[in-house]
C-alpha cells in the first residue's frame, strides 16, 4: 500500500495534540513557575527570575528525602515484581477458562478509592489494630509498632501497585509459546533450568514494563507515605505537597517537581531504549 504521508500526519495529530496539551504545556508551566519566587501571600513573583530554586533543591538538606523516595520506589518495584510474577504465571498457565475473570479480580481493588484502601491498612497496622490484636491474643509481647514505619509504607505501596505489575507480566507470560519450554525440557533441562534459561529471558519485556509501571508512580506517591509513614519517612513527593499546600512556596515546589519529572523521564527513556535494543532486538 502506498504510504500516504498526509494521512499519516493527520492520524498523528490527536495523539500529539494530547501530549502537547496535557504534558508539554503543563511541564512548561511548572518550569516557568519554578523560575519565580514566593511573594508574601504565597503567590508567585517574577521580578527575580533565575534558577536559584534548583540550587536550593540540590542542597544536601534534601538528600535524606531523595534517598527515602528512591528507597521506597525501588523496594516497592522489587517486591511488586517478585509477588506479581508467580501470580501472573499461575493465571496464565493454570487459569484456563477463568483467566478473564481472574484478571478482573486483580483489577477489582481499583474500583475502591485509593485513600480508603490505605486507611484500611492503617486500621490493620496500628498499635490497637488487627495485627497487634491477634498477636496480643496469642500472648505475644507488647504491641509492635507497624504503622508509621518504612515497613508500612512499602507494604502499602506494594499492595497498591501490584496490579500494575501483574498485568504486563501476565501479558508477557501469556505470549510465551509453551512449545519453547517443552523443547527445553526435551533437551534435558530441569524445570528450574528451563525457567531461568527460557521463560525468564523471554518474559523480560514484561518485567521491564512492570518495573516501569510500578517505579514511576511509586516515586511520585505522596498519599501512602503520608498516611502510613511517620516523621522519618518523608519523601520528595511529600515535600512538594508541603510546599504547595502548607508552606505555599509554589516556585520551590515547582522546581522540585520539575526535577522529579525530568529524572523520571530520563530514566524511562533509558529503560525503554534498553528494552528495544537488548530485548526486542
Amino acid at each position: 500500500m502506498k504510504r500516504d504521508r498526509t494521512r499519516d500526519a493527520v492520524l498523528l495529530v490527536p495523539g500529539l495534540a494530547w501530549l502537547l496539551l496535557f504534558f508539554a504545556v503543563p511541564l512548561a508551566i511548572i518550569f516557568v513557575v519554578s523560575l519565580g519566587h514566593r511573594d508574601q501571600y504565597g503567590g508567585v513573583l517574577f521580578d527575580r527570575i533565575g534558577l536559584e530554586n534548583y540550587l536550593r533543591a540540590l542542597e544536601p538538606d534534601f538528600l535524606p528525602t531523595v534517598a527515602n523516595s528512591l528507597k521506597y520506589a525501588f523496594a516497592t518495584t522489587f517486591f511488586s515484581i517478585v509477588i506479581a510474577y508467580p501470580i501472573a504465571y499461575w493465571i496464565s498457565r493454570y487459569g484456563g477458562r477463568r483467566k478473564a475473570l481472574l484478571i478482573v479480580l486483580v483489577m477489582l481493588p481499583f474500583w475502591t478509592s485509593w485513600v480508603i484502601r490505605t486507611y484500611a491498612w492503617m486500621i490493620i497496622l496500628r498499635d490497637n489494630g488487627v495485627v497487634n490484636s491477634v498477636l496480643g491474643a496469642f500472648g505475644l509481647p507488647g504491641p509492635i509498632q507497624l504503622l508509621n514505619t518504612d515497613l508500612a509504607v512499602i507494604l502499602g505501596m506494594t499492595y497498591g501497585f501490584l496490579p500494575f505489575a501483574i498485568l504486563p507480566l501476565y501479558v508477557s507470560i501469556d505470549r510465551l509459546d509453551p512449545a519453547l519450554v517443552q523443547a527445553a525440557r526435551d533437551l534435558y533441562a530441569s524445570g528450574r533450568s528451563a525457567f531461568f534459561h527460557v521463560t525468564l529471558p523471554l518474559t523480560m519485556p514484561g518485567i521491564i514494563a512492570a518495573a516501569l509501571l510500578t517505579f514511576i508512580p511509586a516515586i511520585g506517591d505522596f498519599v501512602t507515605p503520608d498516611l502510613l509513614g511517620g516523621a522519618q519517612t518523608t519523601t520528595i513527593a511529600k515535600i512538594v505537597q508541603t510546599l504547595f499546600l502548607s508552606a505555599r512556596d509554589w516556585p520551590f515546589g515547582a522546581a522540585l517537581g520539575f526535577l522529579l519529572i525530568v529524572v523520571t523521564i530520563v530514566g524511562t527513556v533509558a529503560g525503554l531504549r534498553f528494552l528495544r535494543r537488548e530485548v526486542i532486538g
Binding site: V115, A179, V223, T234, I239
Partner: protein, 392 residues
C-alpha cells in the same frame, strides 16, 4: 511441528492490544484515583472538627433581627469547613428570610484561598482563619461589611471587638476560636504534664506527634525558648529549628488529624488543638488537654464577605444571623468550638462552658499568643519547616 501445534490446547491468548485497552481504562481510573484522593487528603492548617458534640437541643429559632432590611437577594452561596456549623442553622436562616442557601465545603485553607483568589468564585461568604484577613484585604479578595445590616455585632465579647487583624471589624466578624496546646492520654502516662517539654521527653519516644502546620510547630518551639511566636529574628528561628530537629527522631508523625491519631491510641502525647480534644474524648475519655505553663497559641476563624459577591445583602444578613445569640450557641453546642459571642453564653451547653479544653478561663486566654501573618517574612518559617521535614 504441526504435531506440536495439535497437542496444544486451543486457546486465544489475550492479545497485547486488548490487554492494553483494558489496562488503559483501569489505569486511567487508578492514576486519577490517588490524585483526586490526595486533593481530599491535603494538609489542613486549621482544625476541622468531625464529630457531633452532645446537642443541648438549643432551639434554632432566632431572635428577631431589629434592623429594617433592604430586600435581600433570593439566593446565597456559603463556603465553609465541613462540620463547622450547627445542624439546623442553615435551615433556620432559610426559613427566616426565605433565601435559598447553597452550602459548600473545603478541606483546607489553601483550597479555599485558591478558589476565592480567582475573584469570581461565585461565593458570597467564607470562613478564613484570622491570619489571612490582612492579606485578603490587601489583595482585594474581600469587601467591607455593611455594618448597618449586622446589628447583632453587639453580642460580641469585648475582647473580640476591633481585633488587630481587622480594626473596627470592617471586613470580618469572628466566628469560632480555639487554643493550641498539648493533649495526652492519662491511661498511658501517670505523670501530670504541664509543660511543652513533654513533647521533647525521651520516655515517650515513638508515641508523640506534632501538628503538620508550619506556624504551629514553630510556635511550640519558640514558646519553649521564651520567644515571640511572630518573631522574624533569624538567630531565634535557627534556635527553634535546632530544637525541633532534636525532637524529630522522637516523633511518630506530623499530622493535622489530631482527632484521629489520639483516638486510636497510637500516640500518647500530642501537639493538639483544644476543641478537637473535646471530640477525642468521645472515643477515648482518658485523653486530657492542657495549655502549657510557658504559654500557648490561640486563633480564630472569621466570616467575610467576598469581593464581587453576587448576593451582598443576603451575605450581610447571614453574618448577622450567625452572630445571633441563640444561633451562635446552637453552632457551638453542635461542633464543640467556643465562639466569641458573649450573649450566646446564656444558651450554650454548660458542659462546654465549663470544659477547660474548649473554654479556658480568660486569665489563661490572656497568656496566649496569636499567630500573625508576617507577609514577606513568612518565607523564613517555610524554608526552615521544609528543612525540618526533609532532614534526617
Amino acid at each position: 511441528m504441526s504435531q506440536i501445534h495439535r497437542l496444544q490446547p486451543s486457546r486465544r491468548p489475550l492479545s497485547r492490544r486488548t490487554m492494553l485497552r483494558g489496562m488503559a481504562g483501569f489505569g486511567a481510573a487508578a492514576a486519577l484515583g490517588p490524585t483526586l484522593a490526595a486533593c481530599a487528603a491535603g494538609a489542613t492548617p486549621s482544625p476541622s472538627s468531625a464529630g457531633a458534640s452532645p446537642s443541648a437541643g438549643a432551639s434554632a429559632a432566632a431572635s428577631a433581627s431589629p434592623t429594617p432590611v433592604p430586600t435581600p437577594e433570593s439566593e446565597l452561596f456559603v463556603y465553609n469547613w465541613a462540620d463547622y456549623i450547627g445542624e439546623e442553622t442553615i435551615g433556620a436562616f432559610e426559613d427566616k428570610y426565605g433565601i435559598k442557601v447553597t452550602y459548600s465545603f473545603f478541606s483546607s485553607a489553601e483550597e479555599m484561598s485558591a478558589k476565592i483568589s480567582t475573584g469570581n468564585s461565585g461565593f458570597d461568604v467564607t470562613f478564613p482563619t484570622s491570619t489571612y484577613i490582612k492579606g485578603y484585604i490587601e489583595q482585594d479578595f474581600i469587601q467591607p461589611l455593611d455594618l448597618s445590616l449586622i446589628p447583632n455585632a453587639v453580642n460580641l465579647a469585648a475582647e473580640w471587638v476591633d481585633p488587630g487583624y481587622d480594626p473596627g471589624n470592617k471586613y470580618s466578624m469572628p466566628y469560632m476560636w480555639w487554643t493550641t496546646g498539648v493533649a495526652y492520654d492519662t491511661a498511658q502516662i501517670e505523670d501530670e504534664l504541664t509543660s511543652w517539654s513533654a513533647l521533647w521527653d525521651e520516655r515517650w519516644k515513638g508515641k508523640m506527634a506534632m501538628l503538620d502546620d508550619v506556624r504551629e510547630v514553630f510556635a511550640a518551639a519558640l514558646i519553649r525558648l521564651g520567644y515571640d511566636i511572630n518573631t522574624t529574628d533569624d538567630a531565634q528561628l535557627d534556635e527553634a529549628l535546632a530544637l525541633l530537629q532534636q525532637q524529630k527522631p522522637l516523633l511518630r508523625t506530623y499530622t493535622t488529624d489530631d482527632i484521629g491519631v489520639l483516638s486510636t491510641g497510637d500516640v500518647w502525647v500530642m501537639h493538639a488543638w483544644g476543641a478537637d480534644v473535646y471530640q477525642v474524648q468521645e472515643e477515648r475519655d482518658t485523653v486530657v488537654y492542657y495549655i502549657p505553663e510557658e504559654g500557648g497559641v490561640r486563633g480564630s476563624d472569621t466570616m467575610v464577605l467576598l469581593a464581587n459577591a453576587p448576593h451582598p445583602v443576603a451575605a450581610n444578613l447571614f453574618i448577622d444571623f450567625m452572630l445571633d445569640a441563640q444561633i451562635a450557641a446552637a453552632n457551638t453546642n453542635y461542633i464543640g468550638y467556643m465562639g466569641p459571642n458573649e450573649a450566646a453564653k446564656e444558651f450554650i451547653d454548660p458542659a462546654i462552658l465549663e470544659d477547660p479544653t474548649v473554654n479556658p478561663d480568660s486569665a489563661l486566654v490572656a497568656k496566649l499568643q496569636e499567630i500573625l501573618d508576617l507577609g514577606e517574612d513568612e518565607v523564613k518559617y517555610t524554608e526552615r519547616y521544609t528543612k525540618l521535614r526533609s532532614g534526617a
